[in-house]
Chain length 278, copies 2
Amino acid sequence: MTPTIGVFDSGFGGLTVLRALIERMPQARYAFLGDTARLPYGSKSRRTIARFAAESAQFLVRDQGAEFLVIACNTASALALDAIQDAVSVPVLGVIEPGAAAAHAASRTGDVLVIATDATVHSHAYTAACRSLGLRAFEKACPLLVPLVEEGWIDPSTATGNVTAEVIRIYLAELTAEAAAEDLNPDVLLLGCTHYPLLRPLLEAAVPAGVRVIDSAQAAAQAAVQIIDGRLSPASAVAAPATEISCFATDSVDKFERLGSRFLGRPVGQVQLVDLGG
Amino acid sequence: MTPTIGVFDSGFGGLTVLRALIERMPQARYAFLGDTARLPYGSKSRRTIARFAAESAQFLVRDQGAEFLVIACNTASALALDAIQDAVSVPVLGVIEPGAAAAHAASRTGDVLVIATDATVHSHAYTAACRSLGLRAFEKACPLLVPLVEEGWIDPSTATGNVTAEVIRIYLAELTAEAAAEDLNPDVLLLGCTHYPLLRPLLEAAVPAGVRVIDSAQAAAQAAVQIIDGRLSPASAVAAPATEISCFATDSVDKFERLGSRFLGRPVGQVQLVDLGG
């Protein structure tokens, strides 16, 4: 029986979560929805985000038959997970708790650095999730990293990649100095934005010695696969049917199709436009 | 008689236009509205942008008594100037035609480079406005410049300013190579985004010799002042009453208050939240 898994983001950054899911569970049908007409969620009120996210979740469950939902959007995970769980009757997993759990598993000192967008940092959702696991988290917003990824300035061997490396160096120097001033001794850098996995090589080259890079996208995919079917293994996947992916967006299909493959690691194919209302 | 001038933007970048207006016409009352709850306009349809812009214009005219409107937003100027003119009974000026006219006045070769956001470039509004004046324009989207300005990485004497200088060097090298491949011989760089005046020193240091930097914000302010009152002069302003500024936003008052003074060149004071509906 091939499961249908719905993956939701306000944009298309969540394709990195879909990519991580496919790597772990290729024998599935995936429906991905980017609510691109109404992004960015980060500047909107909790009530508005909850309504948008609930409508998007209902599209994936009712119209696409999703039996499991992964909320591959940090803002929606932080502010609307309850509203989504109320809106649909299937299991729903966000990215924040799995990210915090992976940081907990990786950290020996109990101190964690988190980088994310402005909106995610202001929600303090990672700090709360880390605290509930006994971790101290220190968060920093890195607003330039999403546009740098969307410009494709990510190859360390080029002049544009060098710009991104320097931006990362500046952000991490500020972050580690600020954390040290608070007497933290971090050994984990948690990537709290679905765009950041594309910067992983640059980030790993820039972190201080002894700091491990942990990725919410990978952590969420791993947690989802454990919940969906503990029996599936890479070995069983070899003989499985091909992965089936359907991508939907509420606007900006061009940008989605143009940039999406970079996030997904394979062609996204034709993105279907859907109208969820204003 | 002190005129009341309404200035509208989807965000707060248009404060650079307000700043240029105040420099030229300090003896006036200004009402600035940033429709921050519904930005970015760039990813929305022409019909939606026209509705948002018309509602915003009506707020400035009906509720704030503006007798003249400056649309300090490139996207709204490109896609909704007609709709705004239909919605209100006062004179309305956008930023694009004054920018093109200033480029026309400055250029000897008739070839113009334009840098702007993705949305403005895709509208091709500057190309059309330049063409109607007999200019050839070559446009390039520079999506990293707005976030770099909003991060405040604009001081050439710092490491962060050096990042921005390198980003500008890369964009301008690509732009001039692309324009040369089309046999253009440009002698003007037109800044088609209200954020870019904050980068003027970095841009002037980076343009090839013989290329002048022309700024839509300055050009629009100059055109507005000529229309509003040809008799006002800097000399008459010395004895004039103090400038009066009221700033309004539909959301994100914090960010507006925090960053706005950098754009306006003086404190923006308390920003009042207004609700224009969804």
